[in-house]
């Protein structure tokens, strides 16, 4: 019986093979008590910290309401009261998601939260924000109403001006729907997952040193 089969076993994991190597690396980077800690640093005592988890919650509500809309297809909500309600739920969860994310982002900016080898955490969050804008944009294009028609014909000029329109056509409903419900949510979801794992790995960023203290430096290395 291997060490992993015995709860509480303490002998080192020396199994060979790719799977064991990945397991060792994952556990080394994120041991269970680091992945799901039941304590946090004392300085984590502000409402601003809540907006990260609120953003994640709103993302899941947007995913869930979008999944319900997907069950009967993109035209369902135009003809069904229940469908329209889930479209409204989808809309408002996205509005909340973006609002929470922007507050979270500004909070992290003013904490200079990229300090202490956390630059990649900032970058994944920033790219997730930009990806979310793209996801919302394609959602507006997939509404199948006057708003989506107008946004499509207006945005085509900008996309064509920089050459993107040659391959990404906002007037192609099928293409926009696929980007909205498959490609972009997958990218944003993966980025959010990576972002969360990085936060857990490095921990939340310590407070900025007050000016004049020993640890105060003119430029913090990311």
């Amino acid at each position: 019986m291997s060490a992993r089969e015995q709860p509480g076993a303490t002998e080192p994991d020396e199994a060979s093979g790719w799977t064991a190597a990945v397991r060792r690396r994952a556990v080394r980077a994120l041991p269970p008590d680091k992945l799901l800690p039941d304590t946090q640093p004392r300085y984590m005592a502000s409402w601003i910290y809540v907006f990260g988890v609120l953003t994640l919650a709103a993302f899941l509500v947007a995913l869930g309401s979008g999944a319900v809309l997907a069950i009967q297809g993109p035209a369902w909500w135009h003809t069904s009261g229940i469908g329209h309600f889930f479209n409204s739920l989808h809309l408002w969860s996205v509005e909340l998601f973006m609002a929470f994310m922007v507050i979270h982002l500004w909070g992290k900016f003013f904490m200079a939260a990229w300090r202490g080898r956390r630059a990649l955490t900032w970058i994944t969050g920033a790219v997730a924000f930009l990806g979310s804008i793209g996801t919302a944009f394609t959602g507006y294009l997939a509404q199948q109403n006057l708003d989506s028609q107008w946004i499509a014909v207006e945005s085509k000029d900008a996309l064509n001006a920089v050459g993107i329109g040659a391959y990404f056509d906002p007037m192609n409903f099928g293409q926009m729907l696929m980007w909205h419900i498959v490609l972009l949510p997958a990218v944003v979801g993966i980025l959010i997952a990576a972002h969360l794992l990085m936060v857990r790995r490095r921990g939340i960023v310590p407070p900025l040193p007050l000016p004049g203290t020993d640890t105060d430096e003119p430029e913090e290395q990311p």
Binding site: A57, H78, N87, F109, F110, S148, N172, V205, E220, P222
Partner: protein, 317 residues
């Protein structure tokens, strides 16, 4: 070149710790956000204004439809003069010396006379008069076609866009063709024909009908009534009084100010600007000066006020 040694990374828990239930926090947040979304959805619903159709356009504003159809036929419409990716009428917009769309070329070729006018007329049963007009037009030389469409365009302008008030003249088969196309549009068949011109049964690409709608003034008028026009910060608005894509405020802002709002390369300039700003945003941690801004704006003192208070109390003892 020597590199400044990286400062030792402080362990977050070296500042002390306190119990914190992440799973409980997440569960409460999820219930809270779900509840708030349900309340907002129940109270405010969501907008769903019916899409414009070519049929409603042709019925509501037949003069605008006819003028647009003529512009597609004689090659003077917005789409006909667009450039890549639809045709080579222009180079497209430039970003500095580069015309990105022109580099990629025409990837969605559109011949407005054929795709919007002659094709739909050819693929539908016509009256003998319309069929004869179609044959006469398609067998005429380009110069003759231009003479007919040019004369009709001038006459239409002189009649303030009303085909019923046009004086007799040398228009060839053009009035008959446009009348036949108007009838198809009003009957609703043109909406479907523009979707199926490729010959495929299943369709999800609305590029042709949307481009035709965009070439007229009907769709723009509807959008203007709903404060969606470009000069009304339209891209970030939603129909009715609903919040739209408020997060596009900075992108939309550039379209309201000089030089973006009057440059012939305005779209490319806005995208170039936003691309540069996005890169700066993503790479803030590596940009000297910018990454130090949080140190000079004391928001962090508010966020960590308890920590700093404890430090002061500790130093005081």
């Amino acid at each position: 070149m020597s590199r400044r040694p990286r400062a030792a990374e402080p362990d977050p828990y070296s500042f002390g710790s306190r119990p914190y239930d992440l799973v409980k926090e997440f569960t409460i947040a999820l219930i809270l956000v779900l509840g708030l979304s349900i309340v907002l959805a129940a109270l405010f619903s969501s907008p769903d204004e019916h899409p414009a159709t070519i049929a409603t356009w042709a019925k509501t504003d037949s003069a605008d439809f006819t003028a647009t159809a003529l512009a597609e036929l004689d090659g003077s419409s917005g789409t006909a003069q667009y450039g890549p990716p639809y045709n080579n009428a222009t180079q497209g917009q430039k970003l500095g010396p580069v015309a990105p769309a022109n580099l990629i070329g025409v990837t969605k070729p559109i011949d407005t006379a054929h795709d919007f006018v002659l094709g739909p007329l050819t693929s539908s049963p016509q009256t003998p008069a319309a069929a004869a007009a179609l044959t006469r037009y398609t067998h005429a030389g380009t110069d003759q076609q231009n003479t007919w469409t040019g004369n009709y365009s001038t006459a239409l302008d002189n009649a303030n866009g009303d085909p019923a008030k046009i004086a007799p003249g040398d228009y060839g088969p053009v009035p008959t063709l446009l009348t036949a196309l108007l009838a198809q549009a009003q009957a609703g068949s043109l909406d479907g024909q523009l979707l199926t011109e490729s010959g495929a049964f299943y369709q999800t690409d609305y590029t042709l009908p949307l481009l035709l709608l965009a070439d007229g003034s009907y769709l723009a008028a509807l959008a203007g009534q709903d404060h969606l026009a470009g000069t009304q910060w339209g891209m970030m608005n939603e129909t009715g009084s609903y919040p739209g894509q408020a997060w596009l405020w900075l992108y939309t802002f550039w379209y309201q100010v000089s030089p973006y709002n009057h440059s012939t390369n305005g779209d490319a300039l806005v995208w170039g600007t936003m691309a540069a700003l996005s890169l700066i945003f993503v790479f803030v941690p590596f940009i000297p000066g910018l990454r130090s801004i949080p140190r000079y704006i004391p928001v962090y003192r508010l966020i960590w006020r308890q920590h700093y208070r404890e430090l002061r109390e500790h130093d005081g003892t």
